[in-house]
């Protein structure tokens, strides 16, 4: 294994840069594409879909009613340096085959949840994990056909066995409350984008990350640091028995700057800054990287000196991108369609369509069709989801009222169709996921005004101070019935705002905790400063790129608790690097 680059896997907030206030969302139409012919691999997949549908039959005569093949080809490239030395310079290419084979019919099929299975949390009600299969990375037809044949046979055996279990389970359990179908009927689509590749000048970038990373040499207390450029080009090929034929592409590029240290009391501290781009040209210049890395190093060192904070409940502002993460965790995960269907889920919002769940000045959409926001590329952009359904802008909350859910092809009562949010990391089963979640406000004031409101709120409540959450490393939430319906958000840059006008004070060691419904009702006002958090979200169907866009929000009451920390001492000996250059 080559040196692993630390790629943030939970939602990661970009280190703060001056927030660019954007008055309006910028809509971007379809990118300029020259329509291309059906690629040979799509043709091969569709021929095999046809062959399998015609010839797959079990001894009792059972046949599949639906079959789709997706091949995801990912070429990735990583160049990483620490302290001026090259740590990883790897290029990889892989192809994963995912297939969806169903027996039964649209109403009741082999994917139907089986109730009463599994122990803790009762999660094992979804179809068993099949995983992706390896498939030839050249387009050799014999080898591709062979892999499809092998995977299809296995999937058919599993589907037949599971369909038997589903039918038996229905007989033995109480009547199901949820009578929605198992699979929605959707229009087949045809769309072929031009194949893409990642094009980085490896020599140039190697030297660049080396030079920038060498900055950390003059910070002897920064124990780990890294500068990396990471690029991936995904070309996805799909064909289904309904007639869908697709080749879609996605390019994701990042420059990741990170630094870690440890406070004298043993608390591990980290800072990072991530530049995102959908094009090579959109990557930062060396100068921008240097400035940002210097800021990361200074910020993490400043955190060492910051005081620890006691548990507290009181008013707080979540700065725009921090607020984006907050909405992603607390709201976004709870309006994913499949959670309304699973009896083990908390189903916070299942029966609340048409009801007010947010203050009336707030609306929330999820819009994967948007490629950019201002001049920021959005990672949650896609045209077709992983079930080959056209992505749609979905109005989830209009003026505080819940309208609908994020839907894959697994329908809910009253919601019969997908809205193009069925997503997965290759190798997983699709569930409904977020794309570009966007919070919009009708009660937006300039940030300075919002800050004054915070101070006023503190005085009203006789609190000596409130908090400003500037940067959040990620968060997590529990949505199942087995555990509490709670969330935790992990801030990394927190400032104490004193009611008496003392200067703001950087603090450390706090986590935000709470329960979703009570939290929403306490949002008083927002800034007019929407900004984008570009991240990666992990859930049942693996890691998918997403964004969350929000203005800053002022919350009447927020609860914070002390963060867990290690008790490790600082290194006993000083750093061996005595850099004469600095």
């Amino acid at each position: 294994m080559a040196a692993m680059v630390r790629i943030p896997l939970t939602l990661f907030l970009i280190a703060s840069l001056p927030a660019s206030a954007l008055a309006h969302n910028t809509w971007v139409g379809a990118l300029q594409l020259s329509p291309s012919q059906e690629p040979p691999l799509v043709k091969l997949l569709s021929e095999e879909v046809d062959y399998s549908m015609e010839n797959l039959v079990a001894e009792d005569g059972t046949r599949p009613y639906f079959l789709s093949y997706s091949v995801t080809d990912i070429a990735s490239s990583v160049i990483q340096a620490k302290l001026g030395a090259v740590y990883g310079d790897d290029q990889n290419r892989s192809r994963v085959l995912d297939l969806d084979l169903r027996v039964g019919d649209y109403q009741l099929d082999s994917s139907h949840p089986i109730r009463g299975r599994g122990g803790f949390g009762g999660r094992r009600t979804l179809p068993s994990f099949l995983g992706g299969a390896a498939i030839a990375i050249d387009d050799n037809p014999n080898a591709v056909r062979f892999a499809l044949w092998q995977a299809t046979g296995n999937a058919f055996d599993n589907a037949i066995e599971r369909y038997r279990q589903v039918k038996a389970n229905l007989k033995t359990m109480v009547e199901e409350k949820n009578q929605a179908a198992d699979f929605s009927k959707e229009e087949p689509v045809r769309w072929f984008e031009e194949e893409i590749v990642v094009n980085l000048d490896r020599n140039d970038w190697t030297e660049r990350v080396q030079r920038v990373s060498a900055l950390a040499r003059s910070y002897p207390l920064v124990f780990n640091s890294s500068v990396a450029v990471i690029g991936s080009a995904e070309n996805r090929y799909m064909a289904s028995s309904e007639g869908t034929r697709l080749r879609t592409t996605r390019k994701l590029l990042r420059v990741v700057l990170s630094a870690e240290t440890r406070a004298d009391d043993g608390m591990d501290l980290e800072q990072s800054h991530i530049f995102n781009s959908a094009t090579e040209d959109g990557l930062p210049s060396e100068k921008e990287m240097t400035v940002a890395f210097r800021a990361v190093l200074e910020q993490v060192m400043a955190l060492r000196e910051a005081p620890l904070v006691e548990p507290y409940t009181g008013p707080a502002i979540l700065l725009n991108r921090a607020s984006g993460v907050f909405f992603h965790e607390i709201f976004g995960h709870r309006i994913e369609g499949h959670r309304q269907k699973d009896v083990n889920e908390g189903q916070t919002f299942t029966n609340m369509v048409g009801e007010v769940i947010l203050p009336e000045f707030l609306s929330v959409v999820d819009d994967p069709t948007q490629a950019r926001f201002g001049d920021t590329d959005l990672r949650g952009f896609y045209r077709y989801d992983d079930e080959g359904v056209l992505a749609q802008r979905v109005e989830l909350i209009k003026d505080g009222v819940l309208k609908t859910f994020l839907m894959s092809r697994s329908p809910l009562p009253g919601f019969d169709y997908s809205n193009g949010h069925g997503r997965r990391e290759p190798g997983n089963s699709v569930v409904s996921r977020q794309g570009n979640l966007m919070v919009e406000s009708k009660k937006a004031v300039p940030f300075e005004e919002l800050r004054e409101m915070l101070v006023a709120e503190c005085k009203k409540k006789s609190k000596p101070y409130g908090f400003l959450f500037e940067d959040i490393s990620g968060g997590f939430t529990m949505t199942t019935r087995g555990g509490p319906q709670a969330f935790k958000v992990l801030p990394i840059i927190v400032r104490r705002i004193w009611a008496d006008g003392r200067p703001d004070e950087l603090v450390r060691g706090v986590d935000i905790v709470g329960t979703p419904l009570s939290c929403f009702s306490k949002i008083i006002c927002t800034g007019n400063d929407p900004d984008v958090f570009n991240g990666t979200c992990g859930a049942e169907s693996g890691w998918v790129p997403v964004t969350a866009t929000s203005p800053s929000i002022l919350v009447e009451d927020i609860e914070i608790e002390k963060r867990e920390r290690s008790q490790e001492r600082l290194p006993l000996l000083p750093s061996p690097i005595i850099d004469s250059k600095n």
Binding site: A3, A58, K82, L83, A85, Y87, Q91, D138, A143, P576
Partner: protein
């Protein structure tokens, strides 16, 4: 300090190290780490840095297509810091509890953390920086473990415990760097040839799975220790692996694979691979068409590699010392029991001798996978006579003593998870009065006749068993193994794989007939005492994995073994014709 002085003297005599930034950085940081001290805890009494710098190119093919191709360079540092004394130190402490899953502190005195990455460009400062933090963490963990261990020993009554570690003579040797000897265009050509080779599979409807894998790996090992050892040694290995699976008429599958080691990448493109693929397919096909045998009790001849597979399963793990488990207290699911309790006792019939000799690089012009110059504790291996006149007389040792043995034989090599434990290198089995192949077959027939049987069984290969899984099987083997386990009879798995190529040899006229569908009843190391005869020729069987090894063994004849018929219904519901069997 004595060791520091020694280090200085040695470095004077070693101009070559000046050029190697890894050795230079590790030696410089080692000097500082020897001063590590916290509160009233003493400085480390032993520190070892090990670096593995590996460049790997590999590719896989199936049915004419390339399924993966990757190049990788990795450079990692493992740090062993010991506090206390040779007699009692922090190693093998139980203090780790559940938290120590990644470190594997059990077994063989591991006191180090997980490997950390070093820069690929071998930057001096960055290496020192990494070694600095790794040493600091290892030292802090060591003093914690040491306190835990002392506390737990205070209330144990075991006063005869062996020492924890043994000193070793310092070795200073910087050998030339190992590098891969092919060009980008050679590699490209190998990729084409690999695809073409597997395209042959499309010509055989009965072949339902299979593949070809090539890998070229250059590894440079570095060891720098507080005893003054400074070693750099490397090796290059080109490996080819061919596997084929065919379907039997009633559904279950049969697989076989072959592995070749080579010193040249030219073999990746060798035409001999085509004939090997064809013969692999033919052997499997013939076997798949052979009649099922539902059981057998009688003489069995382990021929060809089956004999080496037998010794691998029953002896290889057991003759390597397993500190902390001396006396054979627990038998874990580890593919072979600890044989130390049998030292001085009979293991095999009298004419047998067994020895391990990693210093030998070839046997009868076949490259031996178990050859190496230094083990991972910086000790040069020596030949160890394990079995003399049928009696077990010694064990293979790493630097951690056991109840009966102390002092390394240079067999401490990386086990799973980076833990160091004794492991075989080249294990030789020899019989003083070996018979020729004809006489051995005759002995099989005579024994069968005496038991009133019409035939005896000759087994010439086994499928990979639990023992070979535990010592680094590949993914394909794993999958096949677990697929079989599902269909098997249940119960505890035999360390031995199932017989793959089996023939009935008839007493009446010596004719041979293929059969299939058998598995062994319980076989253990004590079964070896019942060997009647052995051959006078030896077969080399090379095993890959983290610590690659070779078994060199003659065919052996057992007077009587029990075999059962396998019940396996693991067929598929789908009768979808495979692509290469469809009518065009």
């Amino acid at each position: 300090m004595f060791s520091t002085l020694l280090l200085l003297v040695l470095s004077l005599s070693l101009p070559a190290q000046e050029k190697d930034s890894i050795i230079r950085a590790l030696a410089d940081e080692l000097e500082r780490s020897q001063t590590l001290t916290l509160d009233d805890m003493g400085t480390p009494y032993y520190i070892q840095y090990s670096v593995n710098d590996t460049e790997t190119w590999q590719a896989e093919f199936t049915f004419g297509g390339l399924t993966s191709s990757s190049t990788n360079h990795s450079c990692t540092l493992t740090t062993d810091v010991r506090v206390g004394s040779w007699n009692l130190d922090n190693s093998n402490s139980s203090g780790g509890g559940f938290g120590s899953w990644g470190g594997g502190r059990r077994g063989g005195g591991r006191s180090s953390g997980r490997p950390v990455a070093l820069p690929e460009d071998h930057d001096y400062d960055a290496i020192r920086h990494a070694a600095w933090l790794a040493s600091d963490a290892a030292y802090k963990r060591a003093i914690e473990d040491y306190s835990d261990k002392k506390a737990s020993l205070n209330d144990s009554r075991d006063s005869n415990r062996p020492a924890d570690f043994t000193p070793s003579e310092p070795i200073v040797k910087v050998l030339p760097l190992a590098t891969l000897s092919f060009t980008d265009s050679d590699w490209k050509d190998s990729l084409e040839k690999g695809a073409q080779l597997t395209n042959l599979m499309n010509g055989y409807p009965q072949v339902v799975d299979g593949g070809f894998r090539i890998s070229a790996r250059a590894t440079n090992h570095y060891i720098v220790s507080s005893e003054g050892t400074q070693i750099r040694h490397g090796n290059v290995q080109y490996t080819m692996n061919l596997s084929v699976t065919v379907e039997t008429p009633e559904g279950p599958r049969l697989s076989d694979s072959q592995r070749w080691l080579s010193s040249s990448p030219v073999d990746f493109r060798s035409p001999f691979l085509r004939s090997r693929l064809v013969s692999l397919v033919e052997s499997l096909t013939k076997t798949s068409e052979a009649p099922l045998l539902d059981g057998y009790t009688g003489p069995v001849l382990f021929d060809d590699i089956a004999a080496a597979q037998l010794f691998q399963a029953l002896l290889a793990r057991g003759v390597a010392a397993q500190p902390g488990e001396a006396g054979g207290g627990r038998r874990r699911f580890s593919g072979g029991e600890n044989l130390e309790r049998l030292v001085g006792k009979r293991l095999l019939p009298t004419p047998f001798s067994v020895w391990d000799d990693p210093t030998q690089s070839e046997y009868q012009a076949v490259k031996l996978a178990g050859h190496y110059l230094f083990d991972s504790e910086g000790v040069a291996p020596e030949r160890v006579n394990l079995v003399k006149e049928g009696k077990l007389v010694a064990m293979l040792m790493a630097r951690t003593p056991t109840a009966k043995f102390s002092g390394s034989t240079g067999h401490g090599r990386g086990g799973r998870g980076g833990a160091t434990r004794a492991t075989i290198g080249n294990l030789f089995v020899q019989h003083d009065k070996g018979l020729s192949s004809e006489k051995l077959t005759q002995a099989l027939l005579t024994t069968a006749e005496m038991s009133g049987l019409e035939y005896g069984l000759r087994i010439s290969a086994l499928t990979p068993g639990m023992a070979s899984m535990m010592s680094g099987g590949n993914m394909q083997d794993m999958r096949n193994f677990f697929r079989r386990q599902r269909g098997g009879r249940g119960g505890s798995p035999s360390p031995l794989g199932d017989p793959l190529y089996v023939t009935k040899v008839f007493v009446a006229d010596g004719r041979e007939e293929l059969v299939r569908g058998l598995e062994f009843d319980s076989i253990s190391v004590s079964t070896l005492r019942n060997i009647l005869f052995a051959g006078n020729t030896q077969v080399v069987w090379n095993q890959g994995g983290a610590a690659s090894s070779s078994i060199i063994a003659p065919p052996v004849l057992f007077e009587e073994l029990d075999l059962y018929g396998i019940e396996d219904n693991s067929g598929s519901e789908s009768k979808l014709p495979a692509p290469h069997t469809r009518k065009k």
